[in-house]
């Protein structure tokens, strides 16, 4: 089993000097090749891509290491400063992924096609318990956020 640690990202403001490293998911990796975790990505065209990653790697690491072609994925390189590594899971898998920090939620709130079972790939650490997981890369549809937000405005009556 891989032990992993989400460094609480509240420290971003309290200890700004550590800003760049504290949002990264640290995991202890197992290097034994027989210990790999199978991950299924569903790309924007609906195709299934099955790859293997090592426990301890993040899903963003897997996308990079496997050279998967999801255009624009991981723009900020896993520093929790954008939402381009947005992935969608089914409910059961989502529950297995563990707690979400406020900072990850903040970034997810800017993601296109946000769902209740959305996560950022850079914050998900592979472990054996996630074997066979399915992660869907959402379609990027421009202006979805603006449309949604415009509707919100009319809720307010003063």
């Amino acid at each position: 089993m891989s032990a992993f640690l989400f460094v609480p990202s509240l420290c971003r403001a309290a200890l700004p000097l550590t800003l760049c490293c504290c949002v990264v998911v640290f995991c202890t990796s197992h290097h034994r090749s027989d210990n790999k975790v199978t991950v299924n990505f569903i790309n924007r065209d609906g195709d299934r891509i099955t790859v293997k990653g090592s426990p301890g790697e993040s899903l963003l690491d897997v996308v990079i290491n496997e050279d998967l072609d999801f255009d624009g994925f991981g723009a900020c390189e896993g520093t929790l400063a954008c939402s381009t590594c947005h992935l969608i899971f089914d409910e059961e898998m989502y529950k297995k992924l563990g707690p979400v920090t406020d900072e990850e939620m903040d970034m997810l709130d800017l993601a296109y096609g946000l769902t209740d079972t959305s996560r950022l790939g850079c914050q998900i650490c592979l472990s054996k318990s996630l074997e066979g997981m399915v992660a869907r890369v959402p379609e990027s549809v421009a202006d979805i956020r603006q449309t949604k937000d415009a509707e919100v405005v009319s809720f307010y009556k003063h």
Binding site: L10, R12, A13, A14, L15, P16, L17, L19, C20, C21, V23, V24, C27, S29, G56, D61, V63, I64, D67, L68, D69, F70, D71, G72, F73, A75, C76, E77, G78, T79, L80, A81, C82, S83, T84, D102, E103, M105, D106, M107, D109, L110, A111, Y112, L114, S140, A142, R145, Q146, K148, D149, A150, E151, V152, V153, S154, F155, Y156, K157, H158
Partner: protein, 498 residues
């Protein structure tokens, strides 16, 4: 696991898959440029910010035959990633790594120090290329249009941001930071960037800033700053605030500061929240918590020891900036009190009531504005954008747009990324359908560089930029910063041309 190391030899996954193809093309280019050049679609991009680079990236990746040139007015690339993104958000600047790989792609060339509209016209570009993409951003700013706007002590946020980020034409700004209260008009992310920088010179945060690429003159001026209180003013209410939650959370947690809100501004808000989508709901809840909840012991302690404060002021519009008669410097701002009316969208309506807020510094952050760089192009001057449909510029075949000149100055970097990909997709559809004719032979950069030479303009190549980059990085190293930016175009050119 060393994450930095992991990324240091990271592939550009958007381009990496075609690595073998690009090598092949490189070979052809070396051995027979004319042959290859004559049959490939030639595209140029005007502007090298995120809009330009993301469009370029998508085109190069999706069309293995496209040859692409990027023209940039300044000698240095990356637009608002270099000159807009706050220095204390270095992680956002990681996008530069991907942009650099695009720029270094065998089918991409960078020409800095070329002012399109002045050094070369859009028509000349249309003549030389099959398609032109305008992604020159929004370099103007909206003005408040109130008396006193030109007083000493009033600055446009665009210039203030340009000053601390080393934008050449803002280096002489030298903002007067000798007052206690600063008022920022506008509540977008730029407003909060400015607020954070103004409140930064305290405790650890100034140490942190010293480790960023903020310019040395700005750092020195901020260290002497007397600003203790920053009010961030918006026309409408908490539910209409334009910034994103990350920026609010940073304010809430900013060391050495405490929030100073008006609970009355939040009346009735929690009642409507349950029907609001998650992003707006979470953002509003964070504000409510900050403004209304009794802080816990730790937070109380933190607030007690804070020497600076910040707060949102809602339902207020600027009426006039007032001057101290003796010095003719900003002494206060008169704000009109608004109420909201819902008529399809929520708008602020004046109540007739006004109030004066004492302050020595006013920063107007009410939006950037795109400018028209060529009178032959269509332009929507109300929205300050080039009218377009999915990036196709109206009535102008072969010319496209992306970035803020396409959408208006809103959204985070992912928004611009997706919008730029859309523009690239539109162009590719047009190439495939024949709406964009790529059969004619076009001369591309060959004729443009010849034109520029004739006009005495010496473009800065990407290799030249790397010389500037290396000088800046070295200068920064001496001070423990990732870079110390060169502050004038002359200095940049001098390094580029050595």
């Amino acid at each position: 696991m060393n994450y930095k190391l992991l990324f240091s030899h990271r592939k550009l996954w958007t381009l990496g898959r075609r690595r073998s193809t690009s090598r092949l093309h490189e070979g052809i280019r070396v051995s027979g440029q004319a042959l290859f050049s004559s049959c490939s679609p030639k595209v140029c991009v005007v502007g090298s910010g995120p809009g330009g680079f993301y469009t370029a990236q998508h085109l190069i990746k999706a069309r293995p035959d496209v040859e692409l040139d990027i023209y940039e007015r300044l000698p240095v690339p990356f637009g608002l990633v270099r000159f807009g993104v706050a220095p204390d958000h270095p992680e956002v600047k990681n996008v530069i790594n991907t942009f650099t790989q695009t720029a270094k792609h065998s089918r991409c060339n960078f020409y800095g120090n070329v002012n399109v509209g002045r050094d070369v016209t859009i028509n000349e570009l249309k003549e030389a290329y099959h398609a032109v993409v305008l992604s020159y951003g929004a370099e103007g700013n909206r003005t408040m249009g109130v008396p006193g706007e030109d007083l000493a002590g009033v600055y446009a946020a665009k210039d203030f941001v340009g000053w601390y980020n080393g934008l050449p034409n803002c280096r002489e700004l030298n903002p007067d930071l000798s007052c206690e209260t600063a008022v920022i008009l506008g509540q977008g992310n730029v407003a909060l960037d400015v607020a954070r920088i103004l409140l930064a010179p305290i405790n650890d945060y100034i140490l942190f800033l010293q480790s960023t690429d903020i310019t040395q003159p700005a750092l020195e001026a901020l260290a002497q700053s007397q600003v203790r209180r920053v009010l961030i003013v918006g026309r409408r209410g908490p539910l209409q605030i334009a910034c994103t939650i990350k920026e609010i959370r940073e304010m809430v947690n900013l060391p050495g500061t405490k929030p100073e809100m008006l609970p009355a501004d939040f009346e009735g808000i929690s009642e409507v929240l349950k029907d609001v989508p998650r992003p707006r709901k979470r953002l509003t809840e964070l504000m409510l918590k900050t403004a209304l909840e009794t802080p816990g012991e730790k937070e109380l302690e933190r607030r007690k020891s804070a020497s600076r404060s910040w707060g949102f002021r809602f339902f207020r519009s600027p009426v006039e900036v007032l001057a101290e008669p003796r010095t003719n410097k900003t002494s206060a701002i008169r704000l009109a009190v608004n109420r909201l009316e819902v008529e399809g969208f929520t708008r602020a309506v004046l109540t007739g009531e006004v109030e004066d807020v004492t302050c020595g510094l006013v920063i107007s952050s009410i939006g950037y504005r795109s400018l028209l760089i060529d009178p032959g192009l269509p332009f929507d001057s109300r929205k300050a954008i080039i009218p377009n449909s999915m990036g196709r510029i109206q009535h102008t075949p072969g010319v496209y747009c992306s970035g803020w000149v396409k959408t208006g100055p809103t959204g985070v970097i992912a928004t611009t990324m997706n919008n730029s990909f859309d523009t690239a997709r539109s162009m590719m559809e047009d190439m495939d359908s024949g709406a964009l004719d790529v059969s004619a032979v076009k001369s591309g950069s060959q004729s443009i560089t010849a034109l520029l030479r004739g006009r005495g303009v010496k473009p800065v190549t990407f290799a030249d930029w790397e010389k500037i980059d290396s000088v800046e990085t070295k200068k920064g190293e001496a001070e423990g910063k990732p870079r110390e930016k060169l502050l004038s175009v002359e200095e940049m050119l001098q390094v580029a041309q050595t």
